[in-house]
Structure formats: structure tokens, C-alpha cells
Symmetry: C2
Subunit: 187 residues, 2 copies
């Protein structure tokens, strides 16, 4: 891992463990094991570094989720829902402390949004809704079901639980089964 990646990883670590306010150039540099000046060899300014953190540390699990939902109809519907819920929770749990940093400033928010373009946070519910629609086409979900609302509730519950766990600084209980069961009853 080169110095650039070490710095991005250090910034993500500090943001996760200490919060945005403590993610100063000094702390990030010390965590990465470099001098402050080194940050500016790789990044134009601090915003540039933060945008790189968002872009490079967040999407890993998002891709896993997208891949997971690309294969409808194979495993039992309930199993798929449970796996979506588990991956969703893991993703939001890891991403939440970093993602909230973006709200600390309107400029950072706008820059990040522009940088994401069509790959914003709405793609996750859209991907799950797309998966549910495929299941619907296979007849495993009622034709009358509102798949977008269903996807929104399943992922929303994960997101909310990630928020609560981060707020209370505790491990979240695994409620993926219970969520899947309640949702399944209505599908």
C-alpha cells in the first residue's frame, strides 16, 4: 500500500473513531505515519482528501449488495431478503460515521454529490427494488406489491439501526430474520 492509500485509510480511520471534528491534517498525518506536508503531495487540499475517502472507502459493500441482488429466483426468497438485510446493515454500519461527515459543510456536500453523479446513495434502494421486481416477474412476489416501498422499508430499517448503533456505540443485534419475516408476510 502506497503512501496515498495509507493516508486515505488513516483519514477514514480517524473519521470513524474520532469524528469529523478531530480529523485534522495533523491527526490524519500522525495516524498515517507521515508528516502533514505529505498530505499535500497527494491531495490539493483537505476537501480533496475527504472526497477521496468517500469515493474509495464507501462503495465496497455497496458493490457486494448490487452483485447479490443480480441473481433473483435461485435461493429461497426469504434467504435472499435476509442476506440483503445483513449486507445492508453491515454497509451502513461501516459507512455511517464517514457519510455523516459530509453534512458538516454544504460545500463538501455539494462537491461529494457532484462527484458521485448517478452513483449516489439512492442506488442501493433502487438496486433492491430492481431485485424485488425481478422476483415479481418470476411470480415469487405478488404483482400488486409496491416493490419500491418494500425496498425502502427493508434498507431503511438497516440504515436506522446503523444510526442507533453508532449513536449508542454498541454492536447492533442481528434482526435481519425478523425484518425479512415481517416484510415477507406482506409480499
Amino acid at each position: 500500500m502506497g503512501s496515498r492509500e495509507e493516508i486515505v485509510a488513516a483519514a477514514a480511520k480517524v473519521m470513524r473513531e474520532q469524528g469529523y471534528a478531530h480529523a485534522t491534517t495533523k491527526v490524519i498525518a500522525r495516524t498515517a505515519g507521515y508528516s502533514e506536508a505529505m498530505l499535500y503531495k497527494h491531495f490539493r487540499d483537505k476537501t480533496d482528501l475527504f472526497l477521496s475517502v468517500m469515493a474509495e472507502e464507501l462503495p465496497a459493500l455497496g458493490a457486494a449488495l448490487a452483485e447479490l441482488t443480480a441473481d433473483p429466483g435461485r435461493a429461497p426468497l426469504r434467504d435472499n431478503l435476509v442476506r440483503v438485510a445483513r449486507l445492508g446493515l453491515a454497509f451502513y454500519l461501516e459507512g455511517f460515521p464517514i457519510a455523516v461527515s459530509v453534512f458538516s459543510s454544504r460545500e463538501l456536500l455539494r462537491s461529494h454529490r457532484e462527484r458521485l453523479g448517478e452513483h449516489g446513495p439512492h442506488v442501493l434502494p433502487a438496486a433492491v427494488a430492481g431485485y424485488l421486481r425481478a422476483e415479481q416477474a418470476l411470480g415469487r412476489i405478488k404483482a400488486s406489491t409496491d416493490v419500491e416501498a418494500a425496498a425502502s422499508m427493508l434498507l431503511g430499517a438497516c440504515f436506522h439501526q446503523a444510526f442507533l448503533a453508532t449513536f449508542e456505540e454498541r454492536e447492533p443485534a442481528d434482526r435481519a430474520d425478523r425484518l425479512a419475516d415481517v416484510l415477507l408476510a406482506g409480499l
Copy 2:
């Protein structure tokens, strides 16, 4: 409205509109129409001010939601669910930009959590679950339904939608009906 309340309101306004990073003592004071020194007549330090913002600006709608769910069995179940979803979205929409500020620093997070005590953010899902349980006792919801998971999904969807709307700086669509319908199908 006394100077203290004006300052708290100004701090909330700045946090909502500009983000935590811009919520400096100077900007807050200017927004409130007072000098910086005035802040320190009312609040020991900036953390004290922020904790007051959290405590005084956030719970209004939370109380409304708690009151709403205190009266099960009267209106049709679907109407109640729709109202819960609408109030939940309105609450999270207003509270999200302020609430995320608390994650900018671990100390602020801990102080806020300690100050909240048993009145933390988990009370909302708990209140909704309690309401659903009452409906269950009245026989309007199946006995086998997991009311906590159901409450978590309904509010979670609202929370997630508030996050997306805040991130994209747009008004959210009103999807309360659609959420209620999907949930209702499984209850």
C-alpha cells in the same frame, strides 16, 4: 422570545442551513443579532449551546408522535400508519441536519447521549412498537406479527428518506401511503 431562545434558534438555523462546520460562535451570534460575548452569558461553552439545541429543537415532533400513538383502535389502522409515517418523516427531516452534527466529535456524542439518558432516539421506534402492540391486543393486527420489526421498518424508511432528501437537498416525495400499504399487507 428572550435572547437565550433566539440564540438557540439561530444555532439550529445555521446548523440546518450551513452545516456543523460553519456553525461557529461568530456566525451564530451574527445570525441571532447579538455579539459573540452574549453567547457566553447564557452558555458555559459551545458544547453547552449545542446540547441545548439538541434538547430544545428536536423533541417537539417526537412528542407529537408519542401522543399520536397513544390512542390506538380509534381511527382505521391504515390511517394511523399513514399518519405515523408522515409525522416520522417530518420529524427526521427537520432533525437530521442537526442530529448528524453530534457525530462530528466523540465527546459531543457522549455528552449528548448522557444528557438524553432514557430519552434517546430509540424511544420513537419503541413508541410505535408499543402502539402496534396495543392494536395487536385489540385484534387489529395478527398475534404472530413482530411489532418491533414492523415499527423499525416503517420509521426506518422515513429516516432513510429524510437522509436522502437532505443529501440531495430536495423535498421528499410523500410516500407515506405506499409504505403503510406494504406494511399493512403483512400485519
